[in-house]
Symmetry: C2
Subunit: 201 residues, 2 copies
């Protein structure tokens, strides 16, 4: 039996998404057959509007509906600290903690020689440009603790130090055991970093 | 920081789908920001076409683009056997095995007193109607082995027997250990059914 083409189209579109396998795609496709027409229309509209009505903030490259994102536009934020993240979702994660009051800079990627992504393929020059104002005293590099993320952190750190040696403090997120984790299952590197980063109590 | 409304709309629409949690919805929303506009348009189109271009087969209630589905329209199928399933996806699963050559009947639900779903809320009368032709010699009841599925199977079986006593054979799918499963983790009922259904080798 062939699945009707229009249904198969929906299934295929779900299957293109990361982390959505063939079984889940099929389940979602058949599920949508039973929802009200209006829900399908809302879903379709949201997809059509997505790229048309979102932009990258002209300051930090965060996703925004205006020229400047809500973080950069907020007068209460500390403009002397910039946290550098790989993706907008990383920014969202930090904003959820409510513990960071500085600004961000979203690279939209990481340096990855294997994928031919160098410093010019991410928003790195735009970061350097922001530092020229002279108002920034600290850059927190919050790229992921992966090989590419570490390499990106090292590169950015080196380039900023080259230009602003002691004028701008460069920090990296603390590494160690995540809350709720089981020591028994932590990998060697995590344990080593946790040991190095130990604190007096 | 507020996520832009158009992006939040996409995230909310994913979140309405079964099995897609808040984190996955967010990840998918941000992912779609980076895909080509054409992929978003294709996705939206497929959703808009979904209900407009699919129907339920007038014979078996399977999902189809025509009046009669491809299974019912296939002249090579054995019209004397009808397998009764709850949902179109169950039909798809059996068609994948390639081991069933009869026809189907899709109930689109199961009898569930708790949710106020009785025999008239599923396509049960339509099944009885099909049996009136007198050409059907076996009905295989392939509802799920859940409480509602079993109750549905019992009800259907009773109603058919009432009308066609020995003229139509009624069978239920074999129950037992699924392939690849670990006996150690099988529940009591599955083991009991497997024991009852044991075969000579």
């Amino acid at each position: 039996m062939k699945i009707p083409k229009v249904l198969q189209d929906v299934i295929d579109n779900f299957h293109k998404l990361p982390g959505i396998g063939p079984k889940t795609s099929q389940r979602l496709g058949f599920y949508l057959l039973r929802v009200p027409e209006s829900q399908l229309e809302d879903f379709a509209d949201s997809l059509l509007n997505l790229k048309k009505k979102t932009f990258l903030c002209s300051v930090c490259k965060n996703v925004t509906e205006n020229e400047i994102c809500s973080v950069c536009a907020d007068g209460n934020r500390d403009r002397s600290v910039i946290m550098v993240v790989e993706e907008p979702l990383d920014l969202v994660a930090f904003e959820k903690t409510g513990k960071f009051s500085g600004l961000y800079h979203v690279l939209h990627g990481k340096i990855s020689p294997l994928e031919n992504i160098g410093p010019d393929e991410i928003f790195f020059q735009q970061l350097l440009k922001r530092l020229e104002s002279g108002n920034v005293s600290e850059v927190i590099i919050a790229t992921n603790p992966t090989m590419e993320g570490e390499a990106t952190a090292m590169y950015i750190s080196k380039e900023i130090k080259k230009r602003y040696s002691d004028k701008i403090k460069i920090t990296r997120l603390g590494m160690g055991i995540p809350t709720g984790a089981d020591l028994e299952y932590a990998d060697d590197l995590t344990l080593t970093r946790a040991l190095e980063g130990r604190k007096d109590i």
